[in-house]
């Protein structure tokens, strides 16, 4: 009934090549996505690098590296956000001092839940279809639609204040 995996599957060279290709082609855009989702310019690159390391460790179990890396980045953003949340005793994260400016929509983005923010970034920045957003977030397409709908409503409400 229970399987305990004792080995990390040996990396397949072709798979390594695929991962390297994803890295070369998508690293920059993934860093930007990580920044938009996490709000942390200083951590975005680290999050993406960590995601690649994790994907590499997952080995050939991952058939298509890009969605896997993307999910790993999003999970890293969530985990970092949760840790920050705990560390700050639920106080909202201060805006990045380097990027302070009169961008109320950007500020409003920080009021969204993790899922809402990720859904907004994946739809309006990465331009993914709902099916791929759902895969990246581990939810149904209907949930993606709901998340985006609620996010946009909240953003409107925030900037109308």
């Amino acid at each position: 009934m229970t399987t305990v995996r004792l080995d990390t599957p040996p990396a397949v060279p072709a798979w390594d090549d695929a991962l390297v290709a994803v890295y070369r082609e998508h690293f920059a855009s993934l860093v930007r996505m990580a920044y938009l989702v996490s709000g942390r310019a200083d951590r975005a690159e680290e999050l993406v690098q960590d995601a690649f390391v994790r994907t590499h460790r997952a080995g050939s179990r991952v058939r298509d590296p890009l969605p896997y890396v993307r999910s790993a980045v999003l999970n890293g953003c969530r985990s970092m956000g949760r840790r920050q949340k705990l560390e700050r005793d639920r106080r909202p994260a201060p805006p990045d001092p380097v990027l302070l400016g009169a961008d109320e929509l950007w500020d409003a983005l920080a009021t969204l839940t993790d899922r809402q923010r990720a859904a907004v970034v994946l739809r309006f920045y990465v331009d993914l279809p709902d099916a791929e957003i759902a895969a990246a977030l581990g939810c149904r397409e209907a949930t993606v639609r709901t998340s985006v709908f609620r996010a946009l409503a909240k953003l409107r409400k925030e900037i109308d204040r």
Binding site: T3, V4, L6, F27, R57, A72, C139
Partner: protein, 539 residues
Amino acid sequence: MTKSLLPPDRPQDDPAFEDEVRAMLARRAADVLPTSAASRAELPGVVPVTVPRGPGRDGRRRLVVAAAAVVVVAGVAAYAATLHPGAPTTQTSAAQETDPPIVWPLDDHVPADVLASPETAAGAYLSEVLELIDLSTLEPPVVDGATATVGYSLAGLQGEVALRLDGDRWGVTGATNDAVDVDLAYAADGDVIAQLTFGPAARSGMRLHLRAVTDDGAPADDVVSVLEYVDGGEITVAPPPPADGAAPPGREADQVVLLPMDPSLEHSQPMLAIILDAANTDHLAAVRLDTLVDDDADPATPDIVIGHATRALTAPPPGAVDGPSSAAPAPTTAVPAEAEAGGSPSDDAARPDDALFVGSGTAAEVAQAYLDDRLPERPDGLRLVPGAGSEQGTGAGEIADIPWEIVGGSDIDGRYSGLIRLRSDPGGWSVIAASTDQISLTVRRADGAVGVTVAWVDPGAYDSVDVDLLDADGFPVTDGEIVSWPTAGEETLVAADEGVDPSEVRSVRVRHVGGTWFSLTEVPVPEFVSTSTSTSTAG
């Protein structure tokens, strides 16, 4: 089903506002210039994962078999807990109602004046169990009535000794550290089972030395294991080196390793369970764990100890011994043949409180109905293993475990399997838990909140999961929104201030791990009591 899970189709578009959002994101994204993307030729920080030589075939078989034993123990415990959701577990009730047992000294070899203060008692204990301890690092004790803690530093890492005043003498009740701790230890059926937790100071290359301590305080040399970490993902199992070249007395030590997560993760998480095979556990009182690393300055020198932990053996968790599954009576009465197979989470007024779903027919038919209800959009290839659960229920409480698996041709990667556990109740078969191999879930109610702890055994998994809190009808109480993403091994408390009424939550389901690992694990939430209770399932 009485209501739809599906939200409305995409809501009314506001293209202008969406364009505004799109422009803002593009503008902000341009703020970030990845420092070295263009110039990197190789993946950063990726090193080949060393696969150390593992145990031989026999050893592997033993690992798998013994790991299965751990899962069975945990599963049986989960079952027992689901049978009695209001009853506190042995651990919680014991901890709250009795003083923690003293694990040192267990005889009179320590002079009374040494035990007169927590400071001196802690110092004496550390001197006895650790050869090289700088007692000048001992911190002033923090005394709270009849208990005290004394902090100290070992190889630069923080440790702590807990003590209790017994009469006029202080005794050690436990020791913890920032590297690896013992979360739980108990003896059952000739085994000593220790669950370890990795702390923030855990690192690759650690060697874990776990041994049992007898009720007279002496280390049990025949109940010992030495485990070695390699590259944060693999463990080799090495036999304990005999002190005098002779074979260790008693039976050979046996170890069970549930593969750990990456110990470099920042947070602690339960990752490792060890079983020590003991000829006789009656005389055992505690376990001690030393965490060692190489002395980098001089490889020729012995390893240095960076952490020490000790914990008393407690009573086994409910169900860990003589599981009710095996003790359940065999079916003797068939459900009327005209009963229609199927079920519902809510249409039966007599539905037991701990049932996730009830239905009539064979166990397999009810399990299938449960799948249809919970996972209408389940992956291709997800099926119940044929041939299991063909019996009708008698209503006498017998248990049926229906394995599920995802077979070839699935639209998701990986190999997944688990169990759906059912109980024959007077109203039909009740689904009382669903598990996914390698994923464990513990749920409790406490202080008006629902506490969720998820852990799994996969070195490639991410430290985040998707969890649904389900109401009595099996629908997410947040209508599809995920309240939080618990981190592995850390309890996430979901309270009313997160927009959820915890009293509505009847069960908790793990849907994904790391966004990629499929799961249908689900357990009921124990009813609220003033002290915490828990139910759990392990894959």
